[in-house]
């Protein structure tokens, strides 16, 4: 049921065109329709889509596509360019006030992720910027909202200012600022209650808080899964509060996240951060071009690379590379590499980031693949040290023993041995290719069995 990405969508239109020699206006129209559908399926607001497609059509008809030999690619390129431009540049800076404390206010709909993101921001400020933040519990409405923030504070070892549920959020905010000054804390992060943009009373409350504490940043927190309504929400919150930036949460899910585009289009405010998980260190800078790819369903290769970089030990990677080049890669190395890939997260999540992965039939059952990994491990672990180093030792007797030890059929042992040989061959080719541009290669990209 995963939705088709733009590239897939354009396939059939492109097929019809190839061989015809010339792209007609009708072709462009059809392609524009596919662009429209792809964006709608990604939850981009229909009004935003309308304007956007109009622009694409103009550029496409303006010869760029018509004259191109690869019109499909050209359309995708135009769409991606326009989309990336609309997304704005990378802006993950957080304001610093000349007179501390710097005040950050978190606002948004119910359940968007304000409290969690408050914790994540505090964590980031302390860890990356060496700041001393204070978390402020201004949600006096939601049951146990204060407990939640206090628990988050405790987990992080970051102070939380709260005055119970009887106090007025405006007073709490005011007193928190004074408290931060007294304690020489340089950032104040105000967690507010979730509210509907059409709730006038509660929106007024936010205005009053804003007028009292003059925040340096007001972050609108939006769930990445939001549908068509994202424009109404963003427009109203921004209209009332003039927010300074947006945080898009729950992007670790499999939503296309077209809301990002809608929000940009109606507010023109930067998306500064994205939430990539429930844990308090899972906040990342927003990358416009990656978001563009994601909305178009073109995979998230860059995130994948970054994940690999975070998880793969550089020294080990170098050693592996050397082994690949010198053809001394063994089953032990294979096991080690498998562990590294596994440490990047569940296999299906990793595969989900590959372009087109959702369309590949074989990848639909990645859960089984995960099981296969366990089987592979079992087989290798049933080999002797010598066998792992030198698979050429293998004979029928040894294979039988390994099969028995691992509880897998001999055919599977055979298959693994064959795959291993093929992999070694492939490595040889790859390392040959890579040695050309020395030092340029990104570490962690040697994942032969993926």
């Amino acid at each position: 049921m995963a939705f088709e990405g733009l590239a897939d969508r354009l396939q059939s239109t492109i097929k019809k065109m190839t061989g015809k020699g010339k792209v007609t206006e009708q072709d462009v129209k059809e392609m524009a329709r596919e662009v429209r559908l792809a964006l709608l399926e990604a939850d981009v607001n229909f009004k935003v889509v309308k304007d956007f497609v109009k622009k694409i059509k103009e550029r496409a008809v303006g010869a760029e596509v018509i004259d191109s030999l690869t019109p499909g690619q050209q359309v995708i390129k135009i769409v991606k360019e326009e989309l990336t431009a609309l997304m704005g540049g990378e802006q993950s800076k957080i304001a610093v006030s000349e007179r501390p404390p710097t005040v950050i206010m978190m606002v948004g709909l119910q359940g968007a992720g304000k409290t969690t993101t408050s914790g994540k921001l505090a964590n980031l400020l302390r860890k990356k910027h060496n700041r001393k933040p204070l978390l402020v519990a201004c949600d006096v409405y939601r049951p146990a909202a204060i407990d939640q923030l206090e628990t988050v504070g405790k987990q992080l070892g970051i102070p939380v200012f709260s005055q119970g549920t009887e106090a007025n959020p405006v007073d709490i905010a005011n007193e928190a600022i004074q408290h931060a000054k007294d304690e020489h804390l340089d950032y104040v992060i105000i967690d507010t209650a979730g509210r509907l943009h059409i709730d006038e009373n509660l929106m007024n409350e936010l205005t009053t808080i804003k007028n009292n504490v003059s925040p340096d940043e007001i972050f609108l927190v939006v769930d990445a899964m939001t549908g068509q309504d994202a424009v109404n929400v963003a427009e109203t919150f921004d209209g009332v509060l003039d927010v300074s930036g947006v945080v898009l949460t729950k992007l670790d899910g499999d939503t296309r996240g077209g809301a990002a585009l809608s929000i940009r289009a109606v507010t023109n405010k930067p998306i500064k951060f994205v939430g990539m998980g429930e844990k308090l260190d899972e906040l990342e800078a927003f990358h416009p071009e990656r978001m563009a790819s994601r909305i178009l369903g073109m995979g998230d290769v860059l995130t994948l690379i970054e994940k690999a970089q975070d998880n793969v030990d550089e020294k080990k990677a170098k050693e592996l590379e050397e082994k690949m080049r010198s053809q001394t890669f063994t089953f032990d190395d294979f096991l080690e590499q498998m562990d590294q890939v596994k440490s990047m997260g569940p296999l299906d999540e990793i595969l989900g980031m590959l372009p087109g992965a959702s369309k590949m039939k074989g990848l639909k059952n990645v859960q089984i693949d995960e099981k296969q990994l366990v089987h592979v491990e079992a087989i290798i672990q049933s080999m002797t040290k010598k066998e792992r180093k030198d698979p050429s030792l293998m004979n029928a007797g040894r294979k039988k023993r390994i099969a028995k030890g691992s509880g897998r059929p001999v055919s599977e042992v055979n298959r693994l041995l064959k795959q291993f040989e093929e992999m070694k061959k492939m490595m040889k080719q790859m390392s040959g290719m890579q040695s050309g541009k020395k030092g340029k290669r990104k570490k962690g990209m040697n994942l032969p069995f993926m």
Partner: protein
């Protein structure tokens, strides 16, 4: 005033009133009538049945988050019908549109309300599942209130042992409603907590056990497996349980809700949906696609954060709400 506000007010004014529920149950023909009246206005705005007309219709539906596929199919059918009957004047297309639109919800048995699968004189277990922040815990609080009001003995179990403050949140709801909450400390095994909950429900002779679970995104295989395990514990302890698995969906969610429904249904055999946050401006139209493709009915809608803000799903009222903007635009 939004349609749901009106609906809400109506319900609030005369909650128990037979009159109202009868009106909604039997009122299909009446809804249809007013539907066509309103549709008159729409077609009056257009003279010609042309591309613009269909595009507008498409957009009205899409803006309500009705699944893109559902909308495209519907509009294509309409276009074909218009061609076949050689309809040029929008007014002449009115009947066809009306039929098709009504068929979205009246088709098969979509028009019927699907109640909870409560056991008579025996313990009923209801498991709540869904992605993060959709309103599982709040819906449990609301349903606990409703069932208690009906004289049922309700027990809650705090199966979200992961999120900060989740156990306290459910505990506050328990206090508010006046029902007990079975819990362990944060970080403990959710399956073990469920086990405790069932044991307590049995020994205390509870009528309904409402089980909270941690929010999880459907693409996290490990977490989905954990949920399957939780369900299995319940199945093992009480044959036939859980009697309902309610997937909580946020009406603000777009197309992803369809994938959520599919994945959660695979992991836990979802029996119904609670559609929350309909008091906002989002329409939650994606449940039409979910009903069409997966045949999962909506059982309740959430209309606010208060104890009383949960209503049984009313299909006619819901579909009417999808078009409320278009219908009141004149």
């Amino acid at each position: 005033m939004s349609f749901f506000k009106k609906l809400k007010d109506t319900f609030a004014q005369s909650k128990e009133s037979e009159e109202i529920s009868d009106k909604y149950k039997e009122g299909l023909s009446k809804t249809r009538a007013s539907f066509s009246t309103k549709l008159n206005d729409l077609v009056a705005r257009y003279r010609k049945v042309d591309e613009d007309f269909f595009e507008d219709l498409e957009e009205i539906l899409i803006s309500a988050d009705v699944g893109v596929n559902t909308v495209m199919t519907l509009v294509e059918e309409l276009e074909m019908e218009a061609k076949r009957q050689n309809i040029k004047d929008a007014r002449d297309l009115k009947e066809v549109i009306s039929e098709k639109l009504v068929a979205i919800y009246a088709g098969e048995d979509f028009g019927k309300q699907v109640p909870l699968n409560l056991q008579e004189n025996d313990l009923s277990v209801i498991l709540f599942v869904g992605v993060n922040g959709v309103g599982k815990t709040t819906s449990i609080g609301k349903l606990a209130y409703q069932l208690s009001q009906e004289g049922k003995k309700v027990l809650l179990v705090a199966g979200d042992t992961f999120r900060a403050g989740a156990i306290q949140q459910l505990s506050v709801w328990g206090e508010r409603v006046g029902v007990d909450v079975i819990k362990q400390s944060e970080g403990s095994d959710p399956a073990a907590v469920m086990f405790d909950g069932i044991k307590a429900a049995k020994s205390r002779g509870a009528d309904v056990l409402l089980c909270d679970t941690a929010g999880r995104l459907q693409n996290k295989v490990n977490l989905m497996n954990e949920l399957t395990k939780v369900k299995r514990v319940i199945e093992r302890e009480i044959p036939g349980a859980p009697h309902d698995v309610l997937l909580v969906l946020d009406a603000t969610t777009g197309q992803n809700a369809l994938i959520q429904a599919k994945t959660f249904a695979e992991a836990t055999d979802v029996t119904g949906i609670v559609l929350t946050k309909l008091d906002g401006t989002a329409k939650g139209g994606i449940v039409l696609a979910i009903r069409k493709e997966l045949n999962i009915p909506v059982k309740y809608v959430g209309l606010g954060e208060k104890m009383t803000d949960l209503e049984p799903f009313n299909p006619e009222a819901f579909v009417y709400g999808l078009f409320s903007d278009m219908l009141t635009e004149e």
